[in-house]
Each structure stands twice: as C-alpha cells, then as structure tokens.
Symmetry: C2
Subunit: 458 residues, 2 copies
C-alpha cells in the first residue's frame, strides 16, 4: 500500500527538503548488511527534533502509514527494512551529545549519535561508553536491538547501560521513561521495555546512558589453542575463578585465516582467544598472571601481554573487522549471521556441535564470538544467487536455534529478531510471545511501527 499523497504533503510541510523520495536515498535505506532481499521505503524522513518526530508519528497514524526507524543500518537480521513500505525515519541528523555529567558518570545523547562519536566526545573526561558492537552503530539502534559486543562480559549490554529514554509513541505522545538516578523502583520498567523493542513500540528520541571511568591500566593478549575445546575451557575456568575480564573473544581457525588474508595478520591458523583486563596496575597484573596459568593448563601458546595502546588498538580493530574478513574470504558472498547464547557450561558443546554441523554442510561458516557471555556467531557465507545455498544456511541456522534452546539458551544473544529470527520466536517464548503481541497492540493499536517484525504476524 503506497503512502497517500496527503500524508506526503503533510510530512513535507513539517520536514521540507528533509523528506526525501530520491532513488538513491530509498535504495540506501532498502538494503541491509546481510542476505535479506531489498525492501524500499516510500520515503525517507530526516527529523532534527523530537517535535518533528512526534509530528511524523501523528501524520502516519492519521493516514495508516507504516514508519520504520533507521539508525546506522548495521543490524544483521533485516531489522530496519521497511518491508511494508511507508516512511523510513532516519535519525542521522539527530546526532548531538546533549550533556555529559562527568561527576555522575552519565550522558544525555540524541539517538543518531554513534558510539565512536560519543567516545570521541568523552575523551577529555576520562570516561567512556563501554558497549561495543564492533560496527559504528547509533545509540538509538543499539538500544533498540539491546546490543552488546566485546565488553558486555564486564560492563553489560544496552539493557544495563541505558538509564532513561525519551520516546515518541505511535500516536505522537512523547514520554520519558526514567531519571538520572542509578536505580529506581518507581513503576513498570518502561526503559527496559523499549530497549530491545526494535522500533516496534516507539521511536527513541533521546537516551541517558551510563558511562565508565577509563581504567587506570589496560592489558590485552591473544593466544592460540590446538582445538576449540581447550580454548572454551579456558573461558569457563576464568569465569569460574571470578577473574574479571573486560573482554574475552573467541575466533576459530577459519576466522584466523580470514583475518590473516584480509588484514595481513600472521595468526597461526588455530582457534584463538583475545582478552583484555581493566583495573589498577597491580590488579591487571594479578589478573593477567592468573589467566596465564589457566591458558598454560589448557595448552595455549603464543601468549603475550601488551599494555601498549597501539598494539591493543591493532588487536581490536582486527577483531572488529573479522566479519568483513570472513565476507572477503568468499568473494561475492553474502552472509547469514547466527547468534546463539547459552549457559557457559554448555558453550563447548554448542560450539563443537555447530562446527560439526557446518563441516558436514557445503557452506563455509567461520565461528567467532563473545564467549565470556556464552555468545557466539557462525558467519554462514552463501552465494546470493544460489537458492540451494541459502536454503542450506537457513537449515543450519535453524538447527543452531534449536540447539540454543535445547541447551537452555536463547536464539539471539545480541543481534535481535528483525526478519530473520521471527520464525523462531514461538519456539523460544511459547505463550509469552502472545504477551508481547498484547503489549504491542496496547501501545501501537494500528500496527504501524516497524510492521512485520517482532510479534506473531496474522
């Protein structure tokens, strides 16, 4: 259903030249980072204020027109694709850091601020925003997917790092969901409800986020193992000893090879752990020593600590580019990215079974992940023009979600549902999925906010 002309006129009156129907604009907002087919919105809106966002919502409500938010478009399950058409609300022009409160270690930001931009602005304060999904995502998008990343094992996910939100509801009402207090027992946790809602309940127009103090000392290391088992056992033992890692990442041998080829690195083609510790100088030294013993017990090698910032930056840049390295390892391929998260005691089993399953298929699927949380991804590389491969990747992904649930885990540790996981929601949530639908209908009775996502489709 195309957007009615009156709606476009009304939106144009509000936004002027910031309502775009240009081909390239629609096209850019109709693609995702992964395998999903193109789905173009009818128009892209670039609001600059909460009032404009509220006006957009009211106009869309009046004309029954879908509206789908767009942050940086880096989500991996086709989240931001306007699959029912309508208006794409692109938040890139709402990209200001409104307030930094160093003494309270929080900041108030607009949703289009990227995590890198925020951290640049924070540099002088000795504080940083810890959630780190590799991609340079927006804070609004990260909140909406309940993102996490390499540092969640220490600093938590977006669930833990958003204190409060300003949200525009489907009918244009503007609400605030919290205060700058560190905790509250005053009413239903609406902040928590909008975090992870993928834009299906409202549009986030402002976030108050927690910040962390730059640690006095940081130390990072990478080490290789002969097999996945001992690498994962190292993670489990480290957690159980209560050693507070800031990051602990796993990459398998396929990923190591891909990174070597892509970034000129020289990792042995083996499974690796990449770790980082934050704390006082002596605390970090103590942690590094204890961790080193566990690595040695598990036959890990090539283990070397570095406290030099440039080495660390090189290490994490490599890790952050691992997805693109994997993509490049099969020229022309697109990816289906899976996202299991299981209790840590089941991690080795989950990784081993997944690996065996992929090995039996004819699709490459490097594995990497935030193993400190029990979370890992297989990057299933498929020829976009080969439906047999895509079907095979979906079958593997489906078996991974079944495996996650069988092992007491979740179908998505951090990427979210979007289009790709909708078919698995019933298996994870059973009748609780209906409750999500009831909440959706209460807040968005016309079903206009990112339609086709998150809830059971009639």
């Amino acid at each position: 259903m195309p957007v009615p002309a009156e709606a476009l006129t009304a939106l144009g009156n509000v936004l002027g030249g910031r309502l775009s129907r240009s081909g390239p604009d629609l096209d850019q907002h109709g693609r995702s980072e992964t395998w999903f087919p193109k789905a173009l919105p009818d128009a892209v809106a670039y609001p600059e204020t909460v009032d404009e966002v509220a006006a957009i919502a009211r106009i869309c409500a009046a004309h029954g027109c879908p509206l789908t938010a767009w942050g940086a478009g880096t989500s991996l399950e086709g989240h931001a694709l306007a699959i029912k058409g309508g208006i794409c609300v692109d938040f890139t022009r709402m990209n200001r850091v409104l307030k930094i409160n160093p003494e309270d270690m929080d900041a108030v930001v607009q949703p289009g601020v990227t995590r890198e931009a925020l951290n640049v602005e924070l540099r002088a304060t000795g504080l940083f925003f810890p959630v780190d999904p590799g991609a340079n995502a927006t804070l609004g998008g990260m909140a909406s997917t309940r993102a996490s990343g390499t540092t969640a094992v220490r600093y938590g996910t977006m669930r833990d790092n958003v204190l409060a939100l300003q949200v525009v509801l489907a009918d244009g009402r503007v609400i605030r969901t919290g205060t700058r207090a560190r905790k509250s027992s005053a009413g239903y946790d609406l902040t928590g409800l909008f975090v992870g809602a993928e834009g299906t309940l409202g549009l986030i127009t402002e976030l108050t986020v927690r910040l962390q103090g730059q640690p006095e000392a940081i130390s990072a290391a990478v080490c290789a193992f002969d097999a996945i088992g001992p690498a994962v056992d190292t993670v489990i033992q480290t957690i159980q000893l209560g050693i507070p890692m800031a990051r602990i990442e796993f990459v398998d041998e396929a990923t190591a090879a891909a990174v070597n080829a892509y970034a000129g690195a020289r990792f042995p083609v083996k499974p690796h752990l990449m770790v980082e510790f934050h704390g006082s100088a002596s605390g970090v030294a103590e942690q590094a020593e204890a961790f080193g013993e566990i690595v040695a017990d598990n036959g890990g090698a090539g283990f070397e600590w570095s406290a030099r910032p440039e080495d660390r930056t090189a290490l994490w840049t490599m890790r952050h580019n691992a997805y693109y390295a994997c993509l490049a390892s099969r020229p022309g391929a697109t990816a289906l990215v899976t996202d299991l998260c299981v209790p840590i005691s089941k991690l080795a089993q989950a990784v081993e079974e997944t690996r065996a399953d992929i090995a039996r298929s004819h699709i490459p699927g490097p594995i990497l992940g935030h193993v400190g949380d029990g979370n890992f991804h297989a990057i299933l590389l498929v020829d976009p023009d080969n439906p047999v491969e895509l079907a095979e990747a979906k079958r593997l992904a489906h078996r991974m979600t079944e495996r996650a649930l069988r092992l007491g885990g979740t179908i998505s540790g951090e990427h979210g549902i979007g289009m790709g996981k909708l078919g698995h929601m019933a298996a994870e949530h059973g009748p609780a999925w209906d409750v999500m639908g009831e909440i959706k209908r209460a807040l968005d009775p016309l079903g206009l906010m990112n339609p086709g996502k998150m809830i059971r489709q009639e």
Copy 2:
C-alpha cells in the same frame, strides 16, 4: 465487594485446608510493617504448585475476584495489602530451591524462598545471592518490588540479578520470560517488565537468579565524620575514583544513637559510613588503602579495618537492625519510610535539605541509606494515633519526592510504590504513567491483580 461463595467453593476444591478464612490469618495478612491502616483480605490461599496458582487465577477471573500476592509482607509502602479485599495468595509454601547450577552461577527457586534461606543452601557451593534488603524478604517479593539494599552498588538490584521468571497471568496462562543465557536480544524484555510490577501484572511462580562467587577476601570498616557533608563527599570521591565498593552505607547521628540504645553499640553520636570491599587479598588491601586516604582527607575518624567474619557480621547485623532501632527510639511509634534516589552529585544537597526540613518539623526522622547508589531513607517516626503527626510526616515525605525529582532523581530507589507513593507517580512519570496503565489493561483487563496499586485509579 465480598468474594462470591462459589469462588470460595471452587478455591476450596483446589486448595482444601490451604484456603484459610481464620481470623488470625486474615489479620496477619492485613497488616504491613509501616503506618498503613489494616486492610484484610477475604481469604488467604497457600498454593504449593504453579498449577494451583493458575487455578486460583482462573477462578478469580471467572468470579471477578481480586487477588494480591504475599511474600514475607516486609514491603514498606503497603504493597501487599488487599485494599479491595479478595484473595491473598501467600507464597510461603512454595519455598524450595529447585536447582543450583554452580558452573553457570545461577539458581532456580520458588518465589517463597527467602534470601537468607537461599544463601544457607548456597553455602557449600562457594556462591551467594547478593541482593540484600536487610529484611528476610522472599525472592518473589524482592523481584516484585525491584528490591536492592546494601550490596546494589556492586552487584546491582533485582533488575540485574533475575535472569528469567515463570509467571501466572491474570487469566491463568503460565509463561516463561527468559532462559538461563546471560543475555538475550530475543524480544521484549518481559522479565524486566514483571520485575518491579508489584504483583499487578502476574504472579511469579519461579525465578532464575544470578549468583556471585564468594570473594576471596572481604574487608569491612566503619568510620565517623563530624558532619554529613564530608561523609557524603567521601562517598562521591570514592565512586569517582572507581574504587569498587561492595557496600557503602550512611547512617546519621540520630541513627547512630538509636543503634547504640537498641543494640548496645558504642558509636560516637555522629554521621557514619560503613563500607565493605570484596576481591582478592591484595585487591581489597589496595582498595582499603585508597579509601582510607579519602576518609582522612574528609576528616573521618575511628577508621578501622576488619577482615574477621564475626566483626563484619556484627556490623551488618547492626545496620540491618537500624530500622527497628529507630522505631524503638520512639516507643509506640510507627514509621513512614521515605526512599529518594538522586544522581550522586546531588546526594549531599538532597540529604542536607531533607535533614533541615525534618529539623524544622516536630517529628524525629533519622536518615540512613545506600549512599553508593545515591539512595537514602528518612524514617519518619509518628504516633499512630495522632493524625497531625501523620499529616506532617506525609508533608515531609511529599517534599522529599519533589526534591528527588527536582534533583534529577526518582521518588523510589528501591521500596516501590504500593499505596504510599501512588500519589507521586504522575509527578515522576507524566504521560509515561498512562502507558503503564495501558500495559496493565492489556495484561489484566479485569483489573484483578493487586487492584488499587501502581496505575492511575479511575
């Protein structure tokens, strides 16, 4: 409206002798720990299984009969009082620890398990459940008020420590809201929605909670200050330096005097901080030293570290009895307990203004709190038979909530809304309060779950 006879018959068929209408039973479930007038339920149900709870919900729904959950009845805002009559669902017989998963550091428990009972069962595992609201509350009650307490500054509140719930909805449906995975982006955060909902959206019949490793070393201390200002400044500086406290509690001179009289302690009648550090032996020593310097800079005295378990137990028992000590300081009094939480930079101002306000009134109001979170309480001691005093206490409490909001904080840091804070919800939440009502109506369309609480009353 009394409960219809058919409803009682049906409930009796399910529960047999575990449906009680005895006077003492009704009376015991009609009182709270604080100043609220008695409000008796029509009957008390003691379910033993989730199926019985679901049957109770279905019968109540069929007969339009209110149902209000009861944990340990220690909540401070009249939360568990059945102010519209109906059935009180007492969870004390669902008090089993169902499963401890030491390797994953989680446990599955029934809602009637108390935090002390859980920690006794955990002793042999080297793990503990950290959330500590002083009172020996139930896990179901603690989840429902989003409780925290002395250790939240380090380990978080119930929001952070509940991984998943089993919930019986108003119509008797049974749902699960999560898995044992440490994080998830799969759908709306229903766990977070039921945590803090005060039994107005569903009855919690099972909880999966996070556990923590017993720290290798613990060190505690208490120190006195000449005035509130330097005590609070000590807290702020400690947080800003990133020293990881496990507990940091404030008591003012009135509380110190009350504790001396009640427990035979010998605190100087001055403001005090009580702190505890958890970590490795060297880590704790380092933290204690750094903290000691801050205390000295702020003129703190009598500062002494103790790592002996019996000293620590004595200290925290004293702290946990502070509420009863304050009550006993005015024989025959009842209490109105306030519960501000503000950004840490506003803590000194909030405490000082509150103290000045109380000093100008004719009511005693010792102040104490979990200052590491910016959270503190005034215990306003009133003669229950003197309406003028009660009115004065309410006026002070009202001004405290206004102060909290003016300083960017919340009207309740941890106790919740119950009956006492309902009148302040609009001020904190504005139109977001209506959204809570919309969610309530979606999940409990007949308005039977703990009616009269949480949402705007028509």
